[in-house]
Symmetry: C2
Subunit: 126 residues, 2 copies
């Protein structure tokens, strides 16, 4: 049990890396809209080749954001919300942590400022 706060080996980093690419986000939007489609179909909706789409889908699959299922000679991909949900929660918790820390700092700063002033509240000359 080391004292590290936010572990970096979580599935979160994979999701963040995957979502960093605009083309991959576009791909996810297409998948959510079209339902279950092949890489070839997806490539027809984008200005890139099928192979590029396949590589992106591999990254998204490794991140747990999509799933590929074989149907005859084609592979149908679909969106997978679980990993996205987990990352959203991770982010909200991190933001909440920052808020907590900042509130504490602000409170301490105000207390120190009060202490620095003389008891009668006279401001010191510069």
């Amino acid at each position: 049990m080391t004292e590290e706060h936010h572990g970096d080996v979580s599935p979160v980093d994979g999701v963040l890396a995957a979502l960093a690419d605009p083309t991959r986000r576009q791909l996810l939007d297409l998948l959510a809209e079209l339902g279950e489609v092949t890489a070839t179909t997806l490539a027809e909706h984008l200005p890139i080749s099928r192979q590029a789409v396949v590589k992106h889908l591999a990254v998204l699959d490794a991140a747990g954001l999509v799933t590929g299922r074989r149907a005859g000679r084609e592979v149908l991909y679909a969106v997978r919300p679980a990993a996205l949900n987990a990352t959203a929660r991770w982010m909200a918790a991190l933001a909440s942590d920052w808020d907590r820390r900042l509130a504490t700092i602000k409170r301490l700063a105000e207390a120190a400022e009060r202490d620095a002033l003389p008891p009668d509240g006279e401001p010191r000359q510069s």
Copy 2:
């Protein structure tokens, strides 16, 4: 008024691109822990040069995740939760949208399967 669903020009993409880098996430953790510190101080806690830290801070600043404030000859950086919160909400909404769509698809699929079966529910032989 195009029919695009999830706009990509939001502050979200900047945040995602910023969070994609592990070093940048480490930097944010350090900032949240140390409060207000300079790039030089941050560099002492990391295996990279001060200039690398400065560049990362510029990216984080552009994404709205950090703020730099001048104090004499040094610049103090601090964490900023607003953009992170916004992105967390964006992600949660997206995940919820996916859940909704998948539920609809599943419902339709089950209805279609019911229609394909004979009225008396007899399973067809393989």
